[in-house]
Symmetry: C2
Subunit: 388 residues, 2 copies
Amino acid sequence: MDRSPHIAGRMADIAPFHVMDLLARARELEADGRRIVHMEIGEPDFDSPEPVIRAGIRALARSLTHYTPAVGLSALREAISAFYGRRYRVTVDPARIIVTPGASGALQLVMGVLVNPGDEVLMADPGYPCNRHFVRQYEGRACPVPVDRSSAYQLTTALLREHWTPRCVAALVATPSNPTGTLIPQAELCAMAHFTSEQGAVLIVDEIYHGLTYGQPPETAAALADNVFVVNSFSKYFGMTGWRLGWIVAPAPWVREIDKLAQNIFLAAPTLSQHAALAAFEPETQEILDRRREVFRERRNALLPALRALGFDIPVAPQGAFYLYAGCGAFTDDSYAFSRRLLEEAGVAITPGIDFGEFRAASHVRFAYTTSTEDLREGVERLGRYLA
Amino acid sequence: MDRSPHIAGRMADIAPFHVMDLLARARELEADGRRIVHMEIGEPDFDSPEPVIRAGIRALARSLTHYTPAVGLSALREAISAFYGRRYRVTVDPARIIVTPGASGALQLVMGVLVNPGDEVLMADPGYPCNRHFVRQYEGRACPVPVDRSSAYQLTTALLREHWTPRCVAALVATPSNPTGTLIPQAELCAMAHFTSEQGAVLIVDEIYHGLTYGQPPETAAALADNVFVVNSFSKYFGMTGWRLGWIVAPAPWVREIDKLAQNIFLAAPTLSQHAALAAFEPETQEILDRRREVFRERRNALLPALRALGFDIPVAPQGAFYLYAGCGAFTDDSYAFSRRLLEEAGVAITPGIDFGEFRAASHVRFAYTTSTEDLREGVERLGRYLA
């Protein structure tokens, strides 16, 4: 009789976030009275905007906590559609919008309706760590494509062409990217949509850091082509992480399938979050969010030259999100050990490259500017002393 | 170039809830001014208990909307552990409790860490429709075992033995069951845990309707054996459906794997729901819930004889949940068409058997007593006139 626990094979390929160990250690140090500067956390330090909080309280007072349709409240789908009209000047039929439990739920649904066992999905390395696991979850194969400064750490049509195989069913891109903060030009997105369409495949565009960009606002891929899935979220720009709410803009032929899968694996996204999210599009909220974006911009503008001056290699200035992906080859050839030492000896928490893939992971780290300007300044000073 | 949309093979096996079409039609009829008696809805008609609502409002006022750990707030895991101590007199280490986005999230995680492609999971037919899809999601094979009055519509050790194959990694049972409302005696659960353990497999016990039972309260399987997973939820007994919150009690060797998968596919359960759920265990809430249970009991006690008198075959009196699973062979050999006619001609919405499996589905329907006693009386009168 086999007494070792039966654990599915996929779990050997599904990695925990390595930064969680660092975060746990940081909390230990804090419990001992050490002050830690947190530059590892992928969550805005701002609370949810006041109008959203108030809308949540109103919804609770009205007991709006029963199930919604699996694809979300009609009113919210329409509000998201209207948002595309106002912000991007594109028309997106509300019927193509599926409200999901976070962008995580969105990616689960998209991969679930697309990926057969053995199917391949191209994605950038470095990239968001969970992306490859959503593919693995469905017994597909995530194919990381090494990207570097030459393409601003993004996939390109040329890279897709180079790495494409007959088993590829999709390419997944993120603009702005986590961890690199870089964007994909709209013309390149368009070319990638065209290329994948020619292959009978789809393009999945993660736009969850839209709204947090610091130059010309990016266009959306939501109306780009009929083989494009857009994934978005209320977490980052809208500051609603713990509400677990996101959405998909899906091409019409897949909507019914996504609805079916959502019914079965989620029932629906959290009801209260959906009601509160209606307030995310009010002018008052938009003003708050725009002010916050300016704060993020100032932090980036301060942190980028400071890290460069210390010797971190950041060849492409990030245009969005709240991350700086930095080469640390001048200091170490083991970025995980470097991150641990930095925490123990300098009291600065950052994320090692290994959380974002394998390509040059040991010589890269990610800095998040999701903490106050004062904290960032303190963090840079500590780094300076430590590296001196 | 293939222009038909690429859709993963699993989606051909993942069925929508047929009752959704009936519900949509019911809403159309209501929009036209018809009054419909809803006996199809698997959601308590009560709002979330007041103390839970108030706790939600307090949490919002404190902006408690950031991410929690993937396994849930420590305080909530401890509160659930304490609940097992108070209600069931069993000790469950909080470290074995994983807070999830609903029981749906719980079942996704459990299947995700257990099921390899081709692995089989035994489950009762009729049963909760999504169960087989959670297995299919991971390329496993759900093996429905026909159950009838002879086993109170539940799996037994004898049935497991009869249907077991070398590819079986788990058996999934629900007590009380949806759609039948029947229970599994603790001795039988214990024997099933023992049998599955002998096979090197696990027993998954869905206890989401615990608390809604109308005789001797059932014991929990949470401390029964070291190969038992318990899935529970704040939706039904606690009246918190749209909050999307549930939990797993997992055997210790699987906890780390479940944590890893939850990090990647969910990040965490909704934060606000977790804070509000702390109030679900307060004495004031428990009193409200106990009163509601008595209301459900009265409804069952009124509806069961009324349906039997009309000629519906309900051979085993349901001891829990809020469902009556009824043979309608006296009236039809197509329960779906029967349900549609009943809606159109009598204005009564019920759920056809096909939503719960294939075994004798065409001669069964499910009545939910999730509406007022007056509505149930009206529904029975309409049924009586229609069937006369």
